[in-house]
Subunit: 151 residues, 2 copies
DNA sequence: CAAGTTGTAATTACAACGGTTACTTCTGTT
DNA sequence: AACAGAAGTAACCGTTGTAATTACAACTTG
């Protein structure tokens, strides 16, 4: 039995978790990598690496020495797509992967890439466009609602 | 420099390549795993493994002993989604991956999964729906056109 | 300066992927 | 019946991505 687990890395959902924590706890606690690691149940270094990727992408600022995370723009202007691109950089931005060097002497081999390219791009675009529909602000609202229901 | 290569495995595009070869060469050659491996430029065993997955998914029949691949239904009824599901089986069908065991004592930790689930499902659905729009028949037509342009 | 925190390198363990060899099983032909 | 060609499959291997962990340097504030 073949058991493949081709999933998008957990960095993406961890990054969304981070944003949600920062938003929820920013006034109440100092949101450090240790704090976040405890909520997510992982190692602080994992968190720092993801924070570094979000910082490199210009989505947040991280206070060195003192600790703390600050988004660089309104939460409604940070989409799931921004976060995904920040933590899951893909070579050439291509979600799909061709086998290298198909046989150029085979009519199919030398045309398959061309034939598939447009279709695969539209599939990738469909996913990414849907990712652009959701923002960190949506997370903020959704979490408030869930917490209100808990009370 | 972070170099992540989170791509969908080449099995998917290789499987599409296989279908295109079978369709193009079925009357002219005996399309064996060796033949396919030569067009794709890989090892015959790799091809056989993928043929096995396509067979298990009920998309093709493979002639043991004599060799040869036959789709089990009209090419217009085999979608990219069918092929993708056949060769890239994902645990629980979930494209996105959560970190295990977030802290249940943290309000965010115990609600994040619930909060994200619906949104992530819609992203995955967007991709899969677009995959369903393309069929092996489209490959057939596209390849004929490209080959006509070559002549 | 001391304490707390981020940044980061180095290492480990594990799993997926693609490749390869070798062998068994099957099928049609001679 | 034997043979040849081909699929099926097990057993490896090397490479790479992921997540975890330790250790330590760099930074910031009190």
């Amino acid at each position: 039995m073949v058991k493949s687990i081709m999933q998008i890395s957990s960095r993406f959902t961890v990054a969304l978790h981070i944003f949600s924590c920062v938003d929820t706890f920013k006034d109440e606690y100092k949101v450090t990598s240790d704090f976040l690691a405890s909520s997510i149940n992982t190692n602080p270094v994992i968190i720092r690496r993801i924070l570094g990727q979000l910082k490199n992408a210009g989505l947040i600022e991280v206070a060195r020495g003192t600790g703390g995370v600050t988004p660089t723009r309104p939460l409604a202007e940070i989409t799931f797509y921004d976060v995904y691109k920040a933590v899951d950089p893909i070579e050439d931005d291509e979600l799909f992967h061709f086998h290298e060097n198909p046989n150029p002497e085979c009519p199919v081999g030398r045309n398959i890439h061309n034939l598939l390219n447009e279709k695969l791009e539209s599939i990738q675009r469909a996913m990414e466009d849907e990712m652009r529909r959701y923002t960190i602000e949506d997370l903020h609202e959704g979490m408030e609602k869930l917490l209100a229901e808990e009370a």
